[in-house]
Structures are given as C-alpha cells and as structure tokens.
Amino acid sequence: MICESCRNREATVHLTQVIDGNVKKLHLCEECADESGFDIQGPMSITDVLLGLGEDDASPDSDQGRDDVRKHCGICGLTLPQFRSKGRLGCPDCYASFEAEIIPLLDSMHHSTRHVGKVPAAAGRPESGSGEISALQSMLDEAVESENFEEAAVLRDKIAAIRATSESIGG
C-alpha cells in the first residue's frame, strides 16, 4: 500500500479511529507520519471533538473572544482560550474557575454533571448501598454461568463482606 500523503513510499503506519460510529482509515509511511506529527498518538480525543477544536468560533477580535482571553484560573493562570485549544486543565482549581464552561461539556461527554462514585477516606466514605450488592450479585451470576470461578469467588467474598459490615452497623 502506498502512503496517502507523499504517494511515493510504502505505507507502514495504519491509523484507524472510530468517531460517532464512523470508521476512518489513514495509511502513511513512517516519514510522513513523523513529519505531520500525526503519528500513532495523533487521533482526536472525545474532548477535542466536543470542544470543537479546529473551529475558531471565538476570534480574539470579537467581544466574546476578548472576554475569553481575560478569563483565567486564579491559581495556575491557565486562560480560557488555552483550555479551549488543548482541552486540558491546568490545576484542580480550574474546575471552579471554568465551571460555567465545563458543565455543558460534561453533560455532552458523560451525560452527567455529578460524581456519585468512590469518595476518598478523608472525605468520609459513604455506606455501600443495596445497589452495590445487586450489581455484585448480577456479576456473580454471570461469572458462575460462564464458569469463571476465580472471579466468582472474589465476588462472593465481597458480597459476604458488605453484608457482614452492614449487619454489624445495623445491629
């Protein structure tokens, strides 16, 4: 196969990515892949897609653009345009600094804007709910059905441990 960029050398770098269910393929030779910087680490992440990278809708000349340039994180100094262009935040406080911009992004990315999972011990660990037991039980059933007894044993022990803890708290 010939490189799609220089149409001269043999293509040895084959990139496949799936965006919104469409499979895209790109075949390049090593030289062209290196040159374009579009080597294996090249594909767009979901953040890039959602941030609409490559579309400069807020040019620095517009009012919106000027406001964006001024908006920055008070702790690390990252500006809103920097966040928009890289899709990466500068420090944990950026989430508070850019909350208004981040929330709609989270909604389209995760279909949620609120964490419900694990909490570090320092912040107080919530009790395991009955929801966790039912999730574990259904995993246990599947593991047994597919004769994966190693995984099943781990699940069984976990369920027993949660039940024992909740009983000792309740009793």
């Binding site: 799936v18 420090c91 944990p92 999972g117």
Partner: protein
C-alpha cells in the same frame, strides 16, 4: 540492579499475570486504571521541572517506605534509554504519552507487573491493575484496595460535585477506565466486526487496537473500554463492561462454530497455512506475525491444532514485539534484522511446542 537492567530482565518473559486465571478462548486480559491527582498542585504539564521531579521522588520514597507494592520496581524515565522505554511500553506499563517524558516522570510497578503507578503522565498518578482473561471485577477490587491505601499517603484532588479532579475532563469523576482485550478472529473473518464496533461506540464504549489509543488492529486483537467516567458508581461501570464483553465473547464463539460448520475446508486451510508459514518462514514482519499467530490461536481454540499450547502463542504476542526482540538479542537491530530474528523465535517455538506436546495433530 540499575533501572535499565531491571527492564531488560523483565523483557525475557511475558508478564507473569498473563499466565494466571481461567482458560478463556476469547478474552485475553482485563485492565482497570484510575486517574488521581494531588490536591492544590498544578497538573504535570503546568509544573516546573523541579517540582515535577520532587513529586516523583516523594512518590517513590513513600511507596518504598510503606511497601505498598510487593517487590516493586522503580523506573524513572530519564534513567532509561530508548529501548528500555519501548520495552515497558510494549508491556503496557506506560502509555505512549509517557514514552516521550523525561525527568520527573516514571512508573512504579509490583514485581509481577499486575499493579502499577505511572507518575507525571497527563495526571500526577495513573494507577493500573492487569489480570488475565475476563477478571475485570477482581482487577477492580485489587486496584480499589491499592487506591484506598494510596489515598492515606497522598491527599488527592477531589470535589464533592465532580469527584476526582483530572487534567482532562474526559476522566473526571471516578477517573476509572476499564478495558478488556479480546481476540475476535471469527467475527473478523466473517466480516461481521464493523457492525459490532459501531454498536459498541453507540453505547459509549471505545474500540481500539492492541496498544490502546490510536493503535491499529493487528492479530484480530481488540481493546474495548468505557468512555464515561462521571455519574455512575465504579462497580456499575465494571459490571456494564463485563456484561457487554461476555455478550461479545458469545458472538465470537458463535461465529467460530459457524465458521467450522459452514466453511470447514476454508478454515482448516487458513489455520494450516498459518502454521506452515510460521514453522518455516525466515522473515516475518510484526503485522504478518500477529495475523498468522491469530490464525494459529483460532486453530488451537477450535481444536484443529492439538500440539501447540495457547499460552505459548499468547506469550509470543508479547515477545516478538520490536523492543523485546532487541532486548533478547542484546543489540539494536534494524527492521530487516528484527524480521529475521522474529521468524527464528517463532520457528523455535513451533518446534519446541511440537516436541513437547507430541505430534498428535489430527
């Protein structure tokens, strides 16, 4: 032993976690990773070099003092040459992004490589646990325990609303990515893989090649992982992936049966030719080797080849990668030399397996 000697030592065999777990003809391995960051500390890209290094040193020292990882190895990127970096990348201990990092970045791994901690990649810490076959819950349980112990040593950036704060919003919340490596030769051969991939991406799962983000599929190996990290409990995410993977695995098994029933000669020919080439070739590129090994693996699972063990084939998938080959040769090899050495390794293995298991091929 220096860091680079430790890496070269690892390269002599496949990771030992690969050799545990039940026999699963479709699911090769399960992986869980958690993204964690220190509170009130800029993410690695915004840290000045001295603070980055300080963070690495502090992490390494505290883990060593607490002994959280058994027989741990500490690999600082700037102590490693190009070959050693490539080796730990091929073993999935570091990401492609980490490969390019220098001073202050590194990885700390348990001796069996099943649990590891990447330091100063995109996030301060990336915790990861590997298990063989479909042991995704076991991997989660182990990493959850490690994370809980880890959080006693390091104050993690966390908000009640957003959960664990990560450099990229796509990892926000749980910071959890669960992924499973599947061998799907029959679905691929029957050209039924595309609708499967499309279906998975519609329900929020990503499908990639063997080496994760951006890698192409070789040897019919597919990595399936969750994309959503926020708004669901970890166990629920793990359960969902496990459930889908089991369905996918059943699809593949069903496709294998159809192949054997309806295209018997075709499949025997496909497997037999692969065996012929692998046993006799003197030049093998990575891609060709992976594709032929995939055919061999299918033949073994379908009961067409009884004198070759699947574990040996799975190990080859690790050991014939470019950096592993060069480590075994003890020299830097160009692409042509690697292709020759790869063919030799494969021929040797075929011979050993045939001798070991007797020539009772039907």
């Amino acid at each position: 032993m220096s860091a680079s000697d430790q890496v070269l030592c690892l390269a002599g065999s496949a990771p030992s976690w690969l050799d545990s777990g039940i026999d699963d003809s479709v699911v090769v391995s399960s992986r869980i990773r958690l993204a964690r960051n220190l509170a009130e500390t800029p993410f690695p890209a915004m840290l000045d070099p001295e603070r980055r290094f300080e963070l690495w040193r502090n992490a390494a020292e505290r883990l060593r003092a607490e002994g959280l990882l058994p027989q741990a190895i500490y690999l600082h990127m700037s102590d490693l040459g190009e070959l050693e970096r490539e080796i730990i990348f091929e073993r999935h201990l570091i990401s492609r992004e980490q490969l390019e990092q220098g001073r202050g970045s590194g990885v700390i791994a348990s001796g069996d490589e099943s649990i590891s901690l990447m330091v100063n990649e995109e996030d301060h810490f990336r915790l990861q646990c590997y298990a063989a076959s479909l042991n995704i819950y076991s991997a989660w349980e182990r990493l959850d325990a490690f994370d809980t112990a880890f959080a006693r040593l390091f104050d993690c950036a966390f908000s009640d609303r957003f959960g664990y704060l990560s450099c990229c919003p796509s990892n926000l919340g749980t910071g959890l990515r669960s992924s499973v490596m599947l061998h799907l030769p029959a679905l691929s051969l029957l050209d039924e893989i595309r609708p499967v991939v499309n279906g998975l991406s519609k329900i929020g799962l990503a499908v990639r090649g063997m080496w994760g983000e951006g890698s192409d599929v070789a040897g019919h190996m597919y990595q399936v992982s969750n994309q959503i990290t926020l708004g669901k409990v970890e166990v629920e995410m793990v359960k969902q992936l496990g459930h889908i993977v089991r369905e996918l695995s059943d699809h593949e098994k069903n496709a294998r049966e159809r192949l054997l029933e309806r295209h018997t000669s075709l499949i025997r020919d496909y497997v037999g030719r692969a065996r012929g080439v692998l046993g006799n070739a003197y030049i093998l590129s990575s891609k060709e080797a992976f594709d032929l090994l995939s055919a061999l693996r299918l033949g073994i699972e379908a009961g067409l080849l009884r004198d070759i063990g699947r574990r040996a084939v799975d190990e080859l998938f690790v050991l014939i990668q470019p950096a592993h080959l060069q480590a075994s040769a003890g020299a830097v090899l160009n692409s042509a030399e690697r292709d020759e050495l790869r063919a030799t390794r494969v021929r040797d293995l075929m011979e050993t397996e045939e001798e070991k298991n007797g020539n009772n091929d039907e």
